[in-house]
């Protein structure tokens, strides 16, 4: 994340953070459905693990406020998601889904990827 993006995010958190602080009816299942419906999976993978088109969204998923800021004002390749097409409540559901995803194994625990280290050195 660029410094300008971070600044935007912090500003957004100050201004709108309270909106997300309100208790919501958050649903992991609904989050997964929304994640797929609005096409997050295209760039970030079906379980948010990322690839060259989009970075991993899990583990260490950002809070809903930060994600909302990013998708509303994305300056880069990331398509902009105005509130009309992705609400704050839907973002909260998506975050819940991403937080529920089982973590990936560590690279060193995977034989093929571990072997690369010795090949590289």
């Amino acid at each position: 994340m660029k410094i300008t993006d971070l600044a935007n995010t912090l500003t957004f958190l100050c201004l709108f953070g309270a909106k997300f602080a309100v208790a919501q009816d958050i649903s992991i299942e609904r989050g997964e459905q929304t994640y797929m419906r609005v096409g997050c999976y295209e760039c970030h993978g079906t379980d948010g693990k990322g690839n060259e088109a989009g970075p991993p969204l899990t583990p260490d998923t950002l809070p809903p406020e930060a994600i909302a800021n990013f998708v509303r004002f994305s300056p880069g390749r990331m398509p902009v998601y105005p509130e009309e097409i992705l609400s704050d409540a839907e973002i909260a559901d998506i975050v819940a889904y991403l937080e529920s995803v089982k973590p990936s194994p560590d690279a060193d625990s995977i034989d093929i990827l571990r072997a690369l280290v010795s090949e590289e050195n």
Binding site: R37, G45, I85, S104, P105, L116
Partner: protein, 670 residues
């Protein structure tokens, strides 16, 4: 010297001819050593239900293969005798054409049969013995052109395609355009009947044109329609020479059907000109010297290479230049220019390095403007990503040959020094001048950068390795898992990644991130024009070349691309071309899904409809079944990543036994 063809020649019906061609072709294209005992089903035994075996050749096929040359000659004679016995004793124009092709050491003609080049077809298989050139049966002219494209990039030797100058060329045009954008030499032989009096009605008129090559003139380097056999010989040799001189490009030669059928009474009266390859153009020495001086003095030079390495020598030269200067290299890799594990291959750091550079040297970069600017396609804006005062230098053949209509020449890039010349041919002089300009103290200073670049390379590699683990157990299978499981099975072979379709980014560039691409032939670039339908047939053409070179060919195949030209699998099966195809089956035209969605978002009109027209679902396509239907061993569809390794192990065995194999992997989008 030559006599006019007899009108009775039209009595040689296409049906009778095809019977002859089939008999002769079967005998000469199927390998003698093939037997039921070494068919793919024998080569690999597997009880997995998802794996499907290729049936052994039928008894009929085996009998056909077992025919002796005499039996085949007899069969051919019967066919010819039934049409026109007088023809069998003569030499024909098309026979001479084959002599010309043999003089150029042409190995293959990729073609789908057609009546406007019947004479040539018959001469290849019967007169020429179906060797140099051999007729490779293609199921679409677009595939034929892609196969010739892939063949060149693996063999570094041109191949020909042969098609109707009308309907066949319309099919072939897209992959001729891909070859044009990719600077690949290709000889397109176009059948035509120029003299209207020789057209026997109906189809012969629809398959004739006044100027067939006009359709591809905007993206071929040269074309001709010779009116005599002597002119054909000169045009074929000239075309070969033009096509293989940088900038290398396709050429088209229209071959009159009447000329093909002409009787040749005095073969000795026809001469085949000697082919002498042109030396590639070299950059002007003074400009090269000035460039060398600037490179030596630069504090943070960056080298960008795109189609620099025409040959393996290009890679060696680039490594030498980069090491002399300790300058990082950004490899766009339309050809493999720089070994991926070399510490100066800093491709993953391109944005940072380009923005900090005080000198950028572009070597055969088609879109140099695109390298020094960043663009926002959605907003239609751009801004420089280089710092003010940066010296920009290009060495390329871009300005030596370009055409107006198709805009593949990209946006104009203002530079400080523009050297017109083939970069690979110019590098030896540049290296010499750099050595001349480099003092000992400067060399010592520059050598101190090595440690920093080694660390940057190692850090970048480690970052990619960690990222590859993300989603390792996901279903659909991650592209990282697919690529790395594949690499694990082939890395001890003399492998070559012969195609990744239109863009390696479709699989998140994992091969260039983590594979040890240490040879020029290990990676052949992409379908440069972005025309879909390149990947599979180009892979088959390259695998044909690699079969003779003893290399293990691998193709990472996008599903959308596959459906354009899947008949190429049959060609691989029929001609026993060993090729491992791994399907990147994300069940979508994923790039377009993303773009349509981005547009819908920007217009604030929702995203629910983005999949319409961009996904390949309902029904899902069973690629393993398709492959099986064309006689190719296959496995899949694989959705559980744990099933991938055993399938790949089996597939590698099949390919090592000389056959094609396909593993269908249901994948993440990227």
């Amino acid at each position: 010297m030559v006599s006019s063809p007899e009108k009775s020649k039209s009595e040689v019906g296409r049906r009778n001819f095809l019977k002859t061609a089939v008999v002769a072709g079967a005998a000469t294209t199927l390998p003698d050593e093939v037997s039921a005992a070494d068919s793919p089903t024998q080569a690999i035994k597997s009880d997995a239900q998802t794996k499907r075996g290729l049936a052994a050749p039928s008894t009929e096929q085996m009998n056909m293969e077992a025919s002796t040359p005499d039996q085949l000659a007899e069969a051919s004679s019967e066919q010819l005798a039934s049409s026109n016995s007088a023809d069998t004793a003569s030499s024909f124009g098309s026979d001479f054409m084959i002599d010309v092709m043999k003089s150029l050491d042409l190995d293959y003609v990729f073609s789908n049969p057609g009546s406007s080049f019947l004479g040539l077809h018959e001469s290849i298989t019967v007169y020429g013995g179906n060797s140099k050139p051999e007729f490779i049966t293609c199921m679409h002219e677009e595939s034929a052109a892609a196969m010739a494209n892939g063949y060149y990039k693996a063999a570094l030797k041109p191949a020909a395609i042969m098609c109707h100058g009308t309907v066949g060329l319309q099919h072939a045009a897209m992959n001729i355009y891909n070859a044009w954008c990719d600077r690949v030499p290709l000889i397109a032989i176009l059948g035509n009947t120029i003299d209207a009096a020789d057209r026997m009605g109906g189809t012969t008129w629809r398959h004739s044109a006044q100027d067939p090559a006009a359709m591809v003139r905007d993206f071929t380097k040269w074309d001709d329609q010779p009116a005599s056999l002597q002119a054909f010989a000169e045009s074929m040799v000239r075309g070969w020479k033009i096509s293989t001189t940088p900038p290398m490009e396709p050429i088209a030669l229209t071959v009159d059907s009447t000329l093909q059928e002409m009787k040749v009474d005095d073969r000795d009266g026809l001469a085949i000109p000697k082919f002498t390859p042109s030396e590639p153009p070299q950059g002007e020495r003074g400009a090269v010297r000035e460039t060398a001086g600037l490179l030596v003095d630069a504090e943070s030079p960056v080298i960008i290479a795109d189609r620099l390495a025409r040959t393996p020598e290009g890679m060696s030269l680039l490594v030498e230049l980069a090491e002399l200067l300790n300058a990082p290299v950004i490899d766009i890799a339309s050809r493999q220019n720089m070994p991926t594990k070399h510490y100066l291959n800093q491709t993953r750091q391109s944005g940072r390095l380009i923005s900090q550079a005080d000198l950028i040297l572009g070597l055969e970069v088609t879109d140099f403007w695109g390298q020094i600017n960043s663009v926002n396609r959605a907003e239609m804006t751009s801004e420089p990503r280089v710092k003010e005062g940066v010296k920009l230098i290009t060495i390329s053949v871009n300005d030596l040959y370009m055409k107006s209509n198709y805009q593949d020449f990209q946006r104009y890039a203002p530079v400080d020094i523009s050297i017109s010349g083939d970069a690979e041919a110019t590098l030896p002089v540049l290296i010499e001048e750099v050595k001349e300009a480099m003092s000992r103290s400067r060399r010592r200073t520059l050598s101190q950068k090595e440690k920093m670049f080694r660390k940057m390379h190692a850090d970048s590699f480690e970052e990619s390795r960690q990222l590859a683990a993300s989603g390792w157990n996901s279903s659909p299978v991650s592209t990282a898992r697919m690529c790395m499981e594949l690499y694990e099975q082939i890395k001890t072979e003399d492998w070559a990644l012969v195609s990744v379709g239109a863009s390696e980014r479709f699989v998140s560039s994992w091969p260039h991130r983590l594979w040890d691409i240490d040879e020029h032939y290990r990676y052949l670039g992409i379908g440069a024009g972005g025309g879909v339908g390149y990947g599979l047939p180009a892979a088959v053409g390259a695998a044909l070349a690699n079969k003779e070179l003893g290399r293990f060919s691998v193709n990472i195949q996008c599903d959308g691309d596959f459906m354009y030209a899947n008949g190429a699998l049959w060609t691989a099966a029929h001609h026993r071309i060993p090729l491992l195809t791994v399907m990147h089956n994300n069940r979508a035209y994923a790039q377009e899904t993303m773009l349509v969605q981005g547009t819908a978002n920007r217009r604030k009109r929702g995203v629910d409809k983005a999949p319409i027209g961009t996904v390949i679902q309902d029904p899902n396509i069973d690629y393993a079944k398709l492959a099986e239907g064309m006689g190719v061993w296959s496995a899949g569809p694989i959705e559980d990543p744990e099933d991938l390794r055993p399938a790949l192990i089996d597939a590698v065995k099949v390919v090592k036994s000389g056959y094609p194999a396909l593993v269908d992997v249901v994948t993440q989008m990227r």
